[in-house]
Every structure is written in structure tokens, then in C-alpha cells.
Symmetry: C2
Subunit: 263 residues, 2 copies
């Protein structure tokens, strides 16, 4: 079952890291550092200068400590990055959010999208699995709680959640890439439609991409919209899908849907 070859990081230990549930040491001096302080320092650097500026030396320097001392609190840089993700993704308060599932989910999507863009280095951290940290799960809770208001069954909820999450992340990733490329290209993300259409036009003159050529020749790329509007369009598509599912299942208004019974 459990492979014995793992050199470091038992998945149970890494869970402790995320939740701070490591039992305190019983002897020796109390350390001046904590996992939280290390992670916070790393996040600060990433927010200011991007993920590539985060190195173990740099984080240690910011804390006034030697590089190697960080390894007392974090198994390695990969784990540090995962912890950074959870640390930066503080879930939003939902007190003033709409109550109905659709505007509420819309709000959720924009909020998460905005969080990604506010800490866009998050999009550079390779995903290492489903969320397990308290903050990430906090986001998940909000999404699930909202989707639960549709009355859909758990399976449907998760399908929608996956699609939605994927879209949010993907779109934010594109925006981030374009934003990062701006100093090199001199093209703002909003202008990318134009430029992209022109690039395509210059390059696909042979007959290999007929549909693409036709569409690139149309004005789809030309109509400049804000990043947020572009995002909202795809989002509406997904929300429509959820609504359709709700209508089909006849779900909203029913009690807790008990999956498995009834067609």
C-alpha cells in the first residue's frame, strides 16, 4: 500500500503543515520562527516581485535568518509554494452577498478571479492536487454552499464546480500571461484581440485553417472589452448550464435532493 521509498514529506505531515497541527516540541529552545511567518514572508516577496523572486535565500534574508534555518519549518521549496497558495487565498466574507444561487455564484467567480489576478504569482505555482489547506477549503465551502442552494445532487454540484473552477483559473491564467508579456510586447491585455487577429491574419494565408481564417477576419477579436467583461461572458455560459440543469432536474425549491431515487 504505502510506498516506503518516499525520501521526505509524508502526506500526513504535509497536512499538519497546512493546518498547524504539529505537536509542539518538548525540549529545546522555542524557535523564533514559525511556519506561518516563513510563508508570510515568502508571500510578501511574491506579491511584490513575482514568484521567480522567491528563493530560499531571499525569504531567509527577509526574516533576518540563514537560508538553511527555513528547512526547520518547511521540507523544501515545493512545499513552501503550496503553503503560500493557501496562505494568500484568504476566502471572502459572504455576509453582504446575494442570497439567490445565481448572482451569488457570479459573485464568487468574480471574487476568485480577482484574487488570482491580485496575487497573480499564484497562477505560476504548479497545481499539486485538490485543495487541502484551510483557506482553499474555505473557498470551496463557499462555492459548495452556494451550489447547494440549487437543490442539485452532490454529483451535479461537483461537475459544475469543476468546470467553473477550471474556467476561472484558465481565464485568469491567460490574463496573467498577457499582462506579464506587456512590457515585452507593448500590448495591453485589452488590446490583445486586435493584435491577435492581425497576427493570425499574417500567418494563416494557406488553406489549412479555413474556419479560423474566417473568424479571425470577422470582428470577434476586434471588439475590445475589458478583461472582466470577457470573463463574465464565459461565466454566463456556465451559469446558464447550471440553470438548465436545475430546470431539468426540477431541483430548486425541493428539499435536499436525495440522489439515486427518482428520475
Amino acid at each position: 500500500m504505502a510506498s516506503a521509498e518516499s525520501p521526505r514529506r509524508d502526506p500526513a505531515l504535509i497536512l499538519d503543515l497546512f493546518w498547524g497541527t504539529t505537536p509542539p516540541p518538548r525540549r529545546g529552545p522555542r524557535g523564533g520562527l514559525t511556519v506561518a511567518r516563513v510563508v508570510a514572508a515568502a508571500v510578501e516577496i511574491a506579491d511584490a516581485e513575482g514568484l521567480e523572486a522567491v528563493s530560499m535565500r531571499r525569504v531567509a534574508e527577509a526574516l533576518g535568518v540563514t537560508t538553511m534555518s527555513l528547512y526547520r519549518y518547511v521540507p523544501g521549496k515545493d512545499e513552501l509554494c503550496e503553503l503560500m497558495l493557501d496562505h494568500a487565498a484568504v476566502p471572502p466574507g459572504t455576509d453582504d452577498w446575494p442570497v439567490a444561487w445565481r448572482p451569488r455564484l457570479e459573485r464568487y467567480a468574480h471574487e476568485l478571479h480577482g484574487t488570482y489576478l491580485a496575487h497573480s504569482w499564484m497562477l505560476d505555482v504548479p497545481v499539486s492536487g485538490p485543495p487541502i489547506g484551510p483557506n482553499s477549503l474555505g473557498w470551496m465551502e463557499v462555492a459548495l454552499e452556494t451550489l447547494d442552494r440549487t437543490g442539485l445532487g452532490e454529483a451535479d454540484i461537483f461537475r459544475a464546480l469543476t468546470v467553473l473552477t477550471g474556467y476561472i483559473r484558465y481565464d485568469a491564467g491567460i490574463v496573467h500571461a498577457l499582462t506579464r508579456a506587456e512590457p515585452r510586447t507593448g500590448v495591453a491585455p485589452e488590446e490583445w484581440g486586435h493584435v491577435y487577429g492581425q497576427m493570425l491574419g499574417r500567418v494563416i494565408d494557406d488553406g489549412r485553417f479555413p474556419t479560423l481564417a474566417r473568424i479571425a477576419g470577422s470582428d470577434v477579436f476586434a471588439q475590445q472589452a475589458s478583461v472582466e467583461e470577457d470573463f463574465a461572458w464565459g461565466l454566463e455560459f456556465i451559469l446558464d448550464g447550471v440553470a438548465a440543469m436545475v430546470a431539468e432536474r426540477g431541483a430548486v425549491g425541493r428539499d435536499r435532493a436525495t440522489p439515486g431515487e427518482e428520475a
Copy 2:
């Protein structure tokens, strides 16, 4: 307009790299290498040992050349990685594909999903913008051509395409992360549902995640499915959304939809 501070890589030059449209040199010895050979060697390494095994030295060694000679053909490692992406993403032949848009799009999604998983290092390459290489555009052409069969307008087509692409990539990314973690955790991607549910149960005993706790307690995570089936579920959600859009617009069967006219 154009920022003068770019140390290297004019976006026009990088386009030439992708399309091999650099005019041949007019003097000097003909080089034994080509961009294509360099990229191919890098892809071969990545396919065999993952993206982290791809270093300039390693690629050069595989080609029997010095490290620095690669820089005659490629501006740097980042650009090499982008080129690798396009090189590896060979678009599929569609001769034996279904004709109707829905099964055809389904086929497309599974094919792309499979390509990502077959060269899973592709998911480790940070996205640098919309597709511009010939192969990437080949995929895009297939998707657009298929979506065009719905009769939807260009804007709707692109909304659907973005959501679909995001989902495919996101799901593949998760599977890849779990697969890569398997040697460490001893948990196969298919078993992750179980384990994840248990992890959540262990960690969220307080009242902060009521919905999550309830759903984690249900059997959603428990019902083991293959990776491909899991993917298909979310995919159906998206295809349903497209179908709903088609029904609403009354699009299929009409001539080329002319956007802007008619409600």
C-alpha cells in the same frame, strides 16, 4: 508604442520561430542544427523524463553539441519550452470523426485531454498567451470548425471554446498532479476520491465547513470512477450548455448565423 527596453525576443521574431519563416542566412556555413531539431530533442527528453529533466546542457548533449550552440536557434529556455508545446501538440486527423457537432466535440475534448496526459509535461509549461504555433492553431481550427456546425455566432463560439479549453486543461492538470504524486503517496488517481474524503473528514471537525463536511460524508468521493469517466461528466455539462445555447438561439440548421441581426 513599442517599448524599446526589450532585451530580446521581439514578438514578430518569435512568430517566425514558430512558423519557421526566418529568411535563411546569406553568408557563412550552413548550420547542422535547426530549430525543429533542437525542439524535437527537447521534447524527446521531456516525454521520457519530464520537463524538469530538460536543461539546455541536456538537450545539447542529446544533439552532440555544446550548450551554447543552442542559443543560435532559440533565444532562451522559455522560448524553447513554448516551442516544445506547439511541437508536441500535433493535431489529430478528423477523417473518421463524427459529423454532428456534439459527438464531434466530445471526440475533440477526449483527444485533447488524452494528448495532455500523454505528454503531461505540457501541463508544467506555464502558459504564455493564446496559441500562435501551427499545431496549436490546428487544434483550435478543429474546435472552431466543429463549433461552427452549431450555427452559433462567433462570440458564442468563443465563449464555449474558452470554457471547454479551460476545463480540459484543468482536469488534465489535476490528473497529472495526482499521477505525479502517486510514488510519494502510494495513492492512484482513481483512489483519490476515497482518500480525499477521509482527509477532509479528519481535518474539518469544526463547524467552519458545514456543506463541505456534509458532502464529504456522502458518497460522492467514494464512488470510484476512471479518470476518463470523471472527465466525461464535466464534459457533458459543457456540451449540455452548448446545446441549450443552440436551442435558445434556434441556430442549428440555419445558414451561417450573421451576428448582430435578429434577436
